[in-house]
């Protein structure tokens, strides 16, 4: 884990430095070509200043940019206590002092990502689809995985990478468009003597645009190569270690892999940060594993499920070698690898006090106090699975109404009326029992 932290910090520094060098060289040549004497250094200088600016922006604003791209809305404890509690629980298990901010993405595709430059300034975003489909243990597994990314500083590297390289892609786009527009309007003035300078600047921008256009897909490929898939395995291992329950994450990944809806707000730049590749849904095509940002989900599930009762990093490595036919992952690292022998037994999980027995016939013998403590995991809702699903979906849609400032009116018959803001009437009739409700905020 410490190795991964150091590696990520190192990779971030190398990325910024090589971007600086690359852009510096580019600026040097372009400046020399178009600005005349001394222009080369001006060009290089401008490029380096630009690069440093981008680095600073991506470091301090990167989190907000990633969240903004993904249309994530911040929530508080009241909006979704279950999710908030789970994030708090995982923060405790990971031993980071502060709880990351929690955000929601309104999309039916189940997924989650984490961002931020260090644990104290991090955020976790989760889609409404994930909240609807996962039970508590699965949600805990997913949040644990994201917490692993935060602790290992994957978020630092991915945030910087995403913003810096993403900005170059945008500039290339601007360059391309201005080239097209420029060539349409520039044609008229080409033969006028006065416009030789204008032509030169135009040609300059064309060059920059062209070069960046050629560069940006190459850069995007570089992102994908340098972003190793190993970090996903390590985050899975961290999740198993934090929750002491790899089956939770395994079950969550299984449900996610059955999803067929593409996540609307995901882009090539933000894709590596998600728990499962949001751009390629359904069965993976063969042969593309080297170019993909995530390892195959099925493999991740198999590794998690073959860990047996033990949950340390060493056990994850063992499971990894088992599934991958001998290849090792090399992540336990440093001196205190002996720590992998710690409290690994999954039965530790039952030590967490159990308050609710699963409600079905066979559990009647488990309702004495001590047996209740040993037999059942605390995270299973005590309704049947169907009630469970309905309850979760209602919880999620209620949360979305609340965030969007709908007015909640509780009727005596038991139903709750949710009125959108700006509703033109001042009274509304309950569809179930016919009672008339007077609206407080909506209505004229």
């Amino acid at each position: 884990m410490w190795e991964q932290i150091r590696a990520n910090k190192r990779k971030s520094a190398i990325l910024v430095f090589s971007m600086g060098v690359l852009l510096g060289v580019l600026g040097f040549f372009l400046g020399g070509m178009f600005i005349g004497r001394g222009g080369a250094w001006i060009g290089a200088g401008t490029a380096i200043i630009f690069c440093s600016l981008m680095a600073v922006i991506s470091l301090y604003g990167g989190r907000e940019i990633m969240l903004g791209i993904s249309a994530a809305k911040k929530i508080s404890l009241e909006d979704n206590p279950r999710l908030f509690h789970i994030v708090e629980e995982m923060s405790l298990a990971a031993g980071i002092g502060t709880v990351p901010d929690v955000y929601i993405i309104d999309d039916a595709s189940p997924n989650a990502f984490a961002t931020g430059k260090d644990p104290k300034h991090s955020a976790i975003a989760v889609t409404t689809g994930l909240l609807e489909q996962m039970n508590r243990a699965e949600l805990q597994g997913v949040v644990g995985h994201e917490m692993g990314h935060i602790v290992n500083r994957d978020t630092l590297f991915l945030t910087i990478t995403g913003v810096m390289l993403g900005s170059i892609v945008i500039i290339a786009d601007i360059g391309f468009r201005s080239m097209i527009w420029g060539s349409i309007f520039g044609r008229r003035s080409r033969y006028s003597g006065r416009n030789r300078n204008a032509n030169q600047t135009q040609a300059f921008f064309m060059m920059v645009g062209l070069i960046l256009m050629i560069l940006s897909p190459v850069l995007a490929q570089i992102i994908y190569f340098s972003v190793s898939r190993k970090r996903e395995y390590l985050a899975d291992a961290s999740s198993a270690l934090f929750t002491r329950y790899p089956e939770g994450l395994a079950s969550a990944l299984e449900k996610i892999s059955h999803n067929s809806k593409r996540l609307r707000v995901a882009t090539r730049v933000t894709a590596p940060s998600y728990i499962v590749n949001p751009l390629r849904v359904g069965k993976p095509k063969a042969g593309l594993s080297l170019l993909s940002t995530h390892p195959p989900t099925e493999r991740r599930i198999r590794i998690l499920r073959s860990m047996g009762g033990r949950v340390s990093f060493k056990d994850y490595e063992r499971a990894f070698s088992g599934v991958m036919g001998g290849k090792t992952l090399n992540m336990a690292g440093k001196v205190y690898a002996k720590e992998s022998a710690l409290n690994t037994d999954a039965s530790i999980r039952k030590k967490k006090s159990v308050l609710f027995a699963k409600k079905n016939g066979s559990d009647s013998k488990e309702t004495t106090s001590t047996e209740q403590m040993s037999g059942v995991t605390p995270d299973r809702d005590f309704q049947t699975d169907l009630d469970d699903n309905v309850a979760r979906r209602r919880e999620v849609s209620d949360m979305m109404w609340r965030i969007n400032d709908f007015e909640f009116n509780k009727c005596d018959c038991g139903s709750v009326l949710k009125i959108p803001p700006g509703y033109p009437e001042s009274e509304v009739i309950c569809p179930r029992c016919g009672k008339v409700h007077h609206l407080k905020t909506a209505g004229k």
Binding site: E89, L92, E339, L342, Q372
Partner: protein
């Protein structure tokens, strides 16, 4: 001359080693203390939630007085316990009694439909989980720290500066030590 040089170099290396070892021990000890503070916070949360829980249950299940009183008694035992071992014992007693209370609540559908009770349930589930995770992190930290204090090179430094091994926060319920049964 060279003998003195070698001697000084060795001395410098020893001092360096001692410094590094000492710093690591301090860092680890601080992590253990911090982790314990977290456990403390979560335990207090659990204690604070209980009066509200008892009141809510009393409204619907007044004749379960025995259990309710047991809960209150266990809670005051837990809040007054002092050493880590004592607290561990008191907390597991409290957990057992809370389990009984929630088992009883299964018999009162009105209570289960009460939104206050449901919110409390989520709070308590989460608090129990948090106590568990805080304890997990604490015990992990204690293990790393104890290793450092006992392992051969650093234990010399540990004994010089009086670093002692810390106690684990274990619960003592017998049934909790059983192997997990696979249920379908």
């Amino acid at each position: 001359m060279t003998v003195i040089m070698i001697f000084l170099i060795i001395l410098a290396l020893l001092v360096l080693f001692a410094m590094v070892g000492y710093n690591n021990l301090i860092r680890m000890k601080n992590q253990v203390d911090n982790a314990w503070a977290q456990v403390d916070v979560q335990l207090k949360r659990r204690h604070d939630l209980i009066p509200n829980l008892v009141e809510t249950v009393k409204g619907y299940a007044a004749h379960e007085r025995e259990t309710l009183e047991a809960v209150i008694a266990a809670r005051s035992a837990a809040t007054s316990a002092k050493s880590i071992k004592e607290r561990a014992r008191a907390e597991s007693g409290l957990e057992a009694v809370l389990g009984r209370l929630f088992a009883l609540s299964e018999n009162y559908p009105d209570l289960k439909a009460n939104s206050n009770f449901l919110a409390l349930q989520e709070e308590l589930t989460s608090t129990e989980n948090k106590v568990g995770f805080a304890r997990q992190f604490y015990n992990d930290s204690v293990m790393k720290y104890n290793n450092m204090v006992s392992v051969i090179p650093t234990n010399i430094i540990a004994s010089i500066f009086n670093f002692r091994t810390a106690d684990y926060f274990e619960t003592e319920s017998q049934s909790e030590r059983e192997a997990p049964a696979v249920k379908f």
